[in-house]
Amino acid sequence: MNRKTTNTLALSIIKILSAITIALLVIILGYLIYRGVWYQNQKEGEVLPITTSEEDFSLYATKDTKLSFISWYTLFSIAKGRERTLRTLTQVNEKIHFYVDPEVKEEAEAYLLTPIKDTALVNKDTTFEPKGGIYLLKKGKTPPHGYTSLPLYDTVVAVNNSVTTLFNNRKIGSVTEEQVKDLQNGTITNWKTLGGPDEEVTFIDNATNAQLQHTKGSVSILNANVFAEEHGIDHLSISRVEKGLNITWEYLTTNAEESGAFGGIFSILINTLLMILLVLFIATPIGVGSAIYLSMYAKNGPFKSLIRSGIDVLAGVPSIIFGLFGMLVFVQLFHLSFSLISGSLTLSLMILPTIIRTSEESINSVDKNTVNASRGLGATKIESITSIVLPAAKKGIITGLILAMGRALGETAALVFTIGSSTNIATGLTSSSRVLAQHIYLTIIEGQSIDKAFASALILIILELIINSIAKKMLRGEK
């Protein structure tokens, strides 16, 4: 290969590898935005999203329940009094009020296989609970104010036990609606196709117990209330994909509950803000003071280089070690407990090098002659510094503080053993609290909700981007 080709090749490789960096960034940010804004989960349920029974009633619910449908099984447990709140259904923290039109009492009892309590029997004209209401009303009647139609799904895919038995340590998983259709119209002829045992598919319309029990590999689409009474027959769970918005106004404005499994992040955002303010309040005077000392007071020599290497080493100390140190000193030695103040003190030490370095740089760039002039006019050194040097270096110092803020905002490991984990808004300096980055960590580690972790992560990255761009703008303005 001649030199020219080698040159072109090598330069192209350099350019391609550089482009990879951009590609990585685009992938990371793009993926984060995608997962942060939308969620798309595979959920398993017991029923197909269709209604096969023809009853003399329809179902209505209030809007705040956020129910988009209800399955026969859920309605069954509500009627039985087992399901009392909406929490496990739609994450709404509201009691369920279940009402039945007296005119359809018998039908409802037969359909739900449960006696309806007298307290649930309510005429349409009486007053209703405005929240959490589910109303079973005779068909054709207009529902009360605030109630909208709620689809009721009650169709089960019943199968012979042979389909769902464990074989070779494997078991048939859930099936999708399309796969059920394929079973019905004969496209799928063997359960192997769905990851089940090597058994032929026999689809029976409206099968009876006996038929399902005695035909190996048989499957039928049945009504849940018919099926519920049967034994010895199994049913397949149906998987469906649930899509929706991850970040909503509500997510930002409600408090986190039960370690972040429910609710939003309002309390966590407030705690984060409090922590950042505290950290800046503690670290700014020390950091800027240190920078002033280094550039205005310290003489070149071993003492100054000692301080300088101290800053270098401190900048390289891993955050987990800061966390341990904070735990030993602030939490245990000073008895500050796992609290906002312990966490903030730990972070303050951690961001000191950032503040010192940027502040020192911008103080050094101030023309020393102006200081001498000020001294010559009779001002003391500290007076010259506060009235001449600091105003001139203000922009650089603030930029450093903003950068340090960005670092504090994204920190996790130093906070895990210092700041506590309460999801409530901190009521005092010594109250346990959690902040955004650490909240993401805890939500993942505790297995609460990966969707919520992504939503919080998107908020965190947006805050970081805002901070970075402000710092960048200020730096450019300075030049």
């Binding site: 550089s18 482009a19 960034l25 020390i286 002033i292 891993p318 070690i321 000191l352 965190l460 981007l465």
Partner: protein
């Protein structure tokens, strides 16, 4: 200011001098205190566990009836992850540094520069989350295993340390005098030959220190690796196995440890701190050597 007496102004000046001196020394004091506290908590480990067992045994079983505290597998995992990440990062990072310092004109360079700034600004927890959702499945599908592995951790770390290597290398590459480069070109060398034979050799000490700084960042990283590394306290025989690094050991066990187990974790932190200090020292030596050469 006018109302204050000269004596008072002098007093303020002197006391502020002492305050600033205190501020100036706080970094050194913090480093000393960190060392003292970690060592003080870590040393009691060796009353029950021999140093030899601690350093060279791969058996970490603090909850057994006869507990063992050997961190050898974590040390090896830490080195493995760190070295792998640097190996992954070097080609990309050096290309970026060379591109930015030698050909940096036009929009692409601008985009590249802000891209690197953004990468540096992404918090480690977000890298971890990205790792769980993207890198772990990728490793699972490409190399087998369950995806939570030292390899996944190394890939995430490689992305995280890119800005460190790029920024520091770029500065040193830029500092190679223009005349030297021009001389090489004038002698008929191609751009690539100039890069290979002139620019890289003369900025090698800066490049090496940037890599060592990156090693320090990688070995101390905790949250991102704990989410993707598998965190199994056993010896990982291959990079696609689950493993546990020193930092993962500290953050995982600290939440429930007590007694000897607790001080063994501080001893782990001691070891980590020792490695970091060692890397710092090497950076100082390399830069000094580079300075002498120049």
């Amino acid at each position: 200011m006018k109302n204050k007496s000269i004596k008072m102004r002098k007093q303020i000046d002197t006391s502020s001098r002492y305050f600033l001196l205190l501020c100036g020394t706080i970094s050194v004091i913090t480093v000393l205190l960190i060392t003292i506290f970690i060592v003080q908590q870590g040393i009691p480990t060796f009353q029950t566990v021999s140093i030899k067992e601690f350093l060279f045994s791969t058996d970490w079983s603090p909850s057994k009836s006869v507990p063992h505290y050997g961190v050898a597998s974590f040390v090896i995992a830490s080195f493995e992850v760190t070295l792998l990440s640097v190996i992954f990062a070097i080609p990309i990072a050096l290309s970026c540094a060379i591109y930015l310092s030698e050909f940096a004109t036009g929009n692409f360079a601008k985009i590249l520069r802000s891209g690197i700034e953004l990468l540096a600004g992404i918090p480690s927890i977000i890298y971890g989350l990205f790792g769980i959702a993207v890198v772990v499945p990728f490793v699972r599908n490409t190399f087998g295993g369950n995806g939570f592995s030292l390899l996944s951790a190394a890939i995430i770390l490689a992305i995280m340390i890119l800005p460190t290597i790029i920024n520091f290398s770029e500065v040193t590459i830029r500092s190679v005098p223009r005349e030297t480069k021009n001389a090489s070109i004038a002698l008929g060398a191609t751009q690539w030959q100039t890069i290979k034979n002139v620019i890289i050799p003369s900025s090698i000490s800066g490049i090496v220190s940037s890599i060592i700084l990156a090693l320090g960042r990688a070995i101390g990283e905790t949250t991102a690796v704990v989410l993707v590394g598998g965190n199994a306290p056993i010896f990982a025989s291959s990079p696609i196995d689950m493993g546990r690094t020193l930092t993962m050991n500290i953050i995982t066990d600290m939440s429930y440890a007590s007694g000897v187990h607790m001080s063994a974790l501080f001893a782990t932190a001691m070891l980590l701190f020792f490695f970091i200090l060692l890397l710092n020292l090497i950076v100082v030596l390399v830069t000094r050597k580079g300075a002498i050469h120049e």
